[in-house]
């Protein structure tokens, strides 16, 4: 009967979640940073209602 090493399992899945979740967050940040300057620019040009 081999040991289960649940700690390592948790560690592995934790690392995976951190990496994948971190990349998701990076995408969200990028999207946000792309949206705001455009909004400001359009506002300046008086194109927003």
């Amino acid at each position: 009967m081999s040991a289960d090493h649940w700690g390592f399992v948790a560690g592995a899945y934790g690392v995976a979640l951190l990496a994948l979740g971190g990349y998701w967050r990076r995408l969200v940040h990028l999207e946000r940073s792309l949206k705001t300057p455009v909004l400001r620019a359009t506002r300046r040009r008086g194109l927003t209602r």
Binding site: M1, A3, D4, V9, A12, A16, L30
Partner: protein
């Protein structure tokens, strides 16, 4: 469309998690530490899909110079490197209780590490070239060379290790004797693949928006 893909991807990952922990059986020889395979193996699969996309997109870019192809390649490299990193990290964490050390230069881990460095080089070339269009061109060449190199890496590393380690270490994860383990791996691969597809699509859209904003 991207948003629905994102929702489906999250669902896919949740399903994968349920399968990996709830439905997949406790493996006989290794115990529950084998469950790490359900993220470790699918991750490399997604990475390979990504690098195939890099290869096709890079060639397309050099042929047509369409920025869409370049954005696709760029996004695919990021996602490929990401999943490769997950594969390497989870592989090392699985290795510690199983083999006793964090890192053994076994064929799979070594191949993955080499590919990781190659494609990080792709991102470095993009970053270090001042002219964006030139960086895209150079990166495409690196992408093509890197992708073509993948089979060479596999054979060379496999042959290199074959003399020094028993074959059992070289088989991917557990021996696929159990059908339920096979099915579980497939489901988890599908879940991670959906996530990867969402990442590539989203990153592509952001790259395009970035390019249009600076135009």
């Amino acid at each position: 469309m991207t948003r629905s893909l994102g929702i489906v991807a999250v669902l896919g990952v949740v399903v994968a998690g349920v399968v990996a922990f709830g439905l997949a059986p406790r493996e006989v020889t290794q115990g529950n530490v084998q469950r790490i395979m359900y993220v470790h193996v699918p991750a490399i699969g997604v990475a390979y899909l990504a690098f195939i996309l890099v290869f096709v997109a890079s060639i397309t870019y050099l042929w047509t110079r369409a920025p869409e192809a370049d954005h696709t390649a760029h996004a695919a490299v990021e996602v490929g490197v990401l999943f490769l990193g997950v594969n390497i990290a989870t592989g090392a964490i699985w290795g510690k209780p199983t083999w006793g050390t964090w890192w053994t230069w076994d064929a799979r881990l070594t191949s993955a590490a080499i590919l990781f460095v190659v494609f990080v080089g792709y991102l470095l070339v993009r970053g270090m070239t001042d002219d964006h269009e030139r960086g895209a061109r150079f990166a495409a060449v690196v992408g093509i060379v890197g992708a073509l190199n993948i089979p060479l890496v596999h054979f060379s590393v496999y042959w290199w290790r074959a003399l020094h380690q028993p074959p059992t270490f070289l088989k991917p994860g557990p021996a696929a004797a159990s059908a339920s383990i096979g099915w579980s791996l497939l489901v988890c691969f599908a879940g991670l693949a959906l996530l990867g597809a969402y990442f590539v699509t989203k990153r592509y859209a952001l790259l395009r928006a970035q390019q249009q904003a600076s135009a």
